[in-house]
Symmetry: none
Subunit: 137 residues, 2 copies
DNA sequence: GATAAGCTTAAAGTTCACTTCAAGGTCAAG
DNA sequence: CTTGACCTTGAAGTGAACTTTAAGCTTATC
C-alpha cells in the first residue's frame, strides 16, 4: 500500500505520516523499486492507535515510549522479553486511561447528582468545590 | 486574592492565567484600586477544572465552549455530552490496546511453543513487521 | 509526448498553548 | 527614600505538531 492509500484508509494526511516517520514514531518502511513507501495493511491500525491516544491527551513523545520497541537483537529470549515489556507498557497506559475515565465519570456523576433544591449556580459552586480542593496540582 | 496567590494555590502560572483571560477562557475579573486583578476563591476550582479537562484531551477552545464566562450559566447538557464523548474516545483506545495486547500474548505463545528448529527467528521478525512494530536499530 | 496525479525530499510556515521580555507602576520593609 | 517583591501591558519568543511550499521524479491517461 502506497502512502496515499494509507492516508485515505487511516484518515491521516500523507504529510503527517511522513512526519511521524521522521519523529521515529513509525519505522522506516520498505520502499518499492521507484522509491515510494510501501505499507502493510496493519499500518492503518497502528495509525488509529496513535490517533486515539492523541485524542485522549498523550503527546507524540509519550506514544513513542509505548509503541516502538527496540528489537534489534532478534535472539529468542530478547524477543520474548521485548514483547513482555511492550505488554507492560500497554498495561501502564491502560491504567492511566482508566484513571482518566474514572475522573470523567466522577465529574459526570457529581454534576448529575444535583439535589433538586439546589439551583444551577449553587450546583456549579458545589461541583467546583468538590473538584477543586483535593485536585489542585 | 491577587494573581500571585491564585497562581500558587492553583499551580498555574500567573502568565498563564492572564493568557486564559486574554483568550476569553476566564472572564475579566474585578480590579483593586491599584489596577491589580482580584480573584474570588472560586477561581482556584475553576482553574483546576480547566487543567483537568486539558489533561484528558480538551483544547482550550473546547473548554471555552463548555465553560462560558459566567460560572452560573454552565451549558450543563453540553458539558455532560462532551464528557461522555471523551469517555467513548478513551474506551475505543482501550479496545484497540486490548486487541494489541492479546495479539502480543498469542505471539509470545507461538514463539515459546516453537521447538529450536529452523526459521523461528526469521518468522518472528516477519510477524513483528506485519504488526507494524518498528525495528528501530 | 504532453498533462495530471501521485510520489520524493528539505525547508519554511502555521497554530496552539504558553513563556519570556521590556518597560514600567505599586507597596511594604529597612 | 531606596530596595525588592509583585503587579500592569503589549509584544516577541518557544516547542509541539503539523502543513505548505518548492523542486523534481514516476506513472497512468489522453
Amino acid at each position: 500500500m502506497k502512502i496515499g492509500e494509507l492516508a485515505t484508509r487511516s484518515g491521516i494526511a500523507a504529510s503527517t505520516i511522513r512526519f511521524y516517520e521522521s519523529k521515529g514514531l513509525l519505522k522506516a518502511v520498505s520502499r518499492l523499486s521507484n522509491g515510494y513507501r510501501d505499507y502493510p495493511l496493519e499500518a492503518v491500525a497502528l495509525l488509529a492507535i496513535i490517533n486515539d491516544a492523541q485524542r485522549v491527551g498523550f503527546s507524540l513523545e509519550e506514544i513513542k515510549q509505548v509503541l516502538p520497541e527496540d528489537i534489534s537483537s532478534w535472539r529468542h529470549d530478547e524477543l520474548i522479553a521485548a514483547l513482555h515489556k511492550k505488554i507492560a507498557d500497554i498495561e501502564s497506559l491502560e491504567v492511566r486511561l482508566a484513571q482518566n475515565k474514572a475522573h470523567l465519570r466522577s465529574l459526570i456523576q457529581l454534576i448529575d447528582s444535583r439535589p433538586d433544591n439546589l439551583d444551577c449556580k449553587d450546583n456549579a459552586v458545589r461541583v467546583m468545590a468538590t473538584m477543586g480542593i483535593p485536585n489542585v496540582k
